[in-house]
């Protein structure tokens, strides 16, 4: 179809705007390719006794073909992304080679005289259902792997090809994409991904970021609204997908795209400059990091070190619980790569259900056994991690941060254990930084209230806004019914942040912020004015935040913060900050 046709069709169809979660940045316009998963129509068919051999042969060919496909995907993933991600596919290949499984499938075909795909479906679904019942996230993820293998086999028995009708340079629209789909489409010059389900941490979202393919997930019903061949606009910055965009919308987005490019070029030009206000106050601007792939962004975006290194990644992504040496290897690389800047390593912050894989579930995990509470109950585990971190401190500047602290007792007990870990290393004459800095993540309201006392116990504070806001306002932001009450600019939040910063400064301790709020451009002027020493943000927003800091004087920012502190509602504060930001950095693009 050419452009003329498109304009005609766009006038006869309704423009539909859908909002989801931005998973990978970029703006593109393209034709929709609706990718329907082969939730295969498997029919139960009786076969003649004489056809058993033929049926077994179909199974055999499908098995071989599936294996070839998976090996190809495995290789492609290794080439494009690396070994770690490729592991997802190894498990699937292992299942294809499970002789016990296939023996029982073959026996059932012979005995029940049913078609191969039916028996494959019956037999593998059995395992899949058992896995889905598991309370363990890891196990449920495995259930998806098993489903992938099943569907691949059935499709190959039915001898259908996977991406047969896929035209190059389309926008792939699907309910959900598997990691395999994400990698395979990328080979065919896919323009973007838009899916009904998924979050920013799903495998597919991470892969699309690594592959630099714009992507929006969690759109809920994009597959219902978009038809095969429709024009679709994907905005991976804002998390918006527009089906059948009007001419006006397209030109608006073309402009936005140009502006993004220009703005990105401006940001590029300040990459190596300091995050300094116009009156000379230097702010430390660092990154939050969880995956090693994000590493390249640090230097690319001009960050001064890592303000939050989440250690959960190593634990969740590795098959094996990492021992001291394995953790040390990982931490050492990070400390070395971040040099001469510092890396703030947060000790394991995770719910009890995940970390110990003990059949454990809680009514209210957010108020339950997590973070420092687990570490103090499992001192061996805590000490292992502390020793690994301390050892890494010999290779760079490592700061250690404690999550989910709610009182002084936890701080003191943690310090005792840190001292014990140090003593163990001294005895073994293993080098580490004796002056290693210890800090507390302020994310529980009680810790915020007693920030003064905590500041006296440790070397630094870091405000974790995501949890702090949830706890302070009693709002679960994952709960759609109340998520609008999750307000970064609620006066209580602003006053609490102010209180924490003042408390730390009274004791000459630096304060950083590592929650999402630190990366929200609307908050930058406020936080700067409240006296925040360090912003630790997602790599992708770092240049914007730097641009804002470089455009204002500390004095102006302090005035803005002062005014905001007097306001009574979130709307007033947000509007006020937005207007000021627009005046100070007019070229900044806000949603």
């Amino acid at each position: 179809m050419n452009a003329t046709n498109f304009y005609m069709s766009s006038e006869s169809t309704q423009e539909i705007v859908l909002n989801g979660i931005a998973a990978s940045p970029g703006i593109v316009l393209g034709r929709a390719y609706i990718f329907t998963k082969h939730i295969p129509r498997v029919e139960e068919k009786q076969i003649a006794a004489g056809d058993v051999e033929k049926e077994l042969l179909r199974l055999h060919h499908a098995q071989a073909r599936s294996q070839k496909e998976l090996e190809k995907i495995l290789k492609l993933t290794e080439e494009k992304i690396g070994n770690q991600k490729a592991k997802i596919f190894e498990a699937q290949i292992m299942i294809l080679n499970d002789t016990v499984l296939f023996d029982s499938i073959k026996k059932r075909i012979q005995k029940e005289l049913k078609n191969a795909e039916w028996i494959v479906h019956k037999e593998i679904s059995k395992y899949q259902q058992m896995m889905m019942k598991s309370p363990d996230d890891y196990m449920r993820e495995r259930a998806h792997d098993v489903e992938d293998v099943k569907n691949r086999l059935i499709r190959n028995i039915q001898q259908e090809l996977l991406i047969s009708r896929f035209e190059k340079k389309s926008v792939v629209i699907a309910e959900m994409l598997t990691p395999a789909d994400t990698v395979l489409f990328s080979r065919n010059d896919v323009l973007a991904y838009a899916t009904d389900m998924g979050g920013t941490t799903s495998h597919a979202a991470l892969l699309s970021r690594s592959l630099k393919i714009p992507s929006v997930v969690g759109l809920k019903n994009v597959t219902k609204h978009a038809q095969q061949g429709d024009w679709v606009l994907v905005d991976g910055y804002a998390g918006t997908v527009i089906v059948n965009p009007t001419r006006e919308t397209i030109s608006r987005y073309n402009k936005r795209k140009r502006e993004h490019r220009q703005f990105e070029a401006t940001l590029e030009s300040i990459r190596d400059l300091a995050a300094q206000t116009t009156d000379g106050k230097e702010i430390r601007l660092s990154c939050n990091i969880e995956f090693s792939q994000e590493f390249k962004f640090i230097s690319q975006q001009g960050a001064q070190g890592i303000g939050l290194y989440r250690t959960e990644g190593i634990f969740l992504r590795s098959e094996v619980y990492p021992n001291e040496q394995a953790q040390f290897n990982e931490y050492k690389i990070i400390a070395e790569k971040t040099k001469p800047y510092k890396v703030v390593m947060r000790t394991l912050d995770i719910g009890g259900d995940k970390v110990l894989a003990e059949n454990y579930s809680e009514e209210n995990p957010f108020l339950g056994w997590r973070g420092i509470r687990i570490l103090l109950d499992k001192p061996e585990m805590f000490l292992t991690q502390l020793r690994a971190m301390l050892r890494a401190s010999a290779y760079g500047e490592v700061w250690i941060m404690l999550p989910m602290i709610s009182g002084i007792k936890e701080v003191r007990r943690s310090k005792e254990l840190i001292e014990q870990a140090k003593q163990e290393l001294r005895t073994k004459q293993i080098p580490f930084d004796e002056q290693v800095k210890i800090g507390v993540m302020i994310e529980v309201p009680s810790a915020a209230v007693i920030a003064d006392d905590i500041a006296q116990e440790v070397d630094f504070l870091s405000i974790g806004t995501n949890d702090l806001i949830q706890y302070l306002l009693a709002v679960d932001r994952g709960n759609e019914t109340v998520s609008s009450l999750y307000q970064e600019f609620h006066p209580a939040v602003v006053k609490t942040i102010h209180h924490i910063i003042k408390a730390a400064h009274r004791h000459n301790k630096p304060v950083s912020m590592c929650g999402e709020m630190a990366g929200n451009p609307i908050a930058t002027l406020l936080l700067l004015g409240l006296g925040l020493d360090e912003f630790s943000v997602a790599p992708i927003v770092l240049p914007e935040i730097k641009k804002i800091i470089r455009s204002v004087s500390l004095k102006e920012a302090e005035e803005i913060a002062h005014r905001a502190m007097e306001m009574k509602t979130e709307d007033d504060i947000r509007d006020f900050l937005r207007v000021n930001l627009h005046t100070i950095v007019p070229e900044l693009l806000l949603e």
Partner: protein, 105 residues
């Protein structure tokens, strides 16, 4: 010689020619993919049948998909059953895998 496990159950008495032994998962990550693969590969070397029983649920220990399904986490107890001509050798080697925590404690 392997001591007969105290987990020997009444039903098992019907078949004296097999070995049953209760083991505990020691490695932290539990029976995730890598240890599951090691277990299945080891079991495949022997002619004996090898079953794993957890919470009254029995799976074939030579099947990777079966072992993956067990979702056996650290601390959980499994009953291993070996039955066949080389059951003692099989039992010795496989039980030692569990005792060593699959080399990843």
């Amino acid at each position: 010689m392997l001591p007969r496990s105290n987990a020997l159950r009444a039903g098992a008495l019907l078949n004296m020619f097999m070995i049953e032994k209760e083991v505990t998962i020691k490695n932290r990550a539990g029976l995730h993919t890598r240890p599951a693969a090691t277990l299945v590969k080891t079991a495949a070397k022997f002619k004996s049948e090898f079953f794993i029983i957890k919470d009254g649920f029995e799976i074939n220990g030579k099947s990777i998909i079966g072992v993956m399904t067990l979702a056996a986490e650290q601390g959980s107890k499994l009953l291993l059953r070996f039955d066949g001509e080389d059951e003692e050798l099989a039992a010795r080697e496989i039980i030692s895998l569990f005792e060593k925590g699959f080399d990843e404690v």
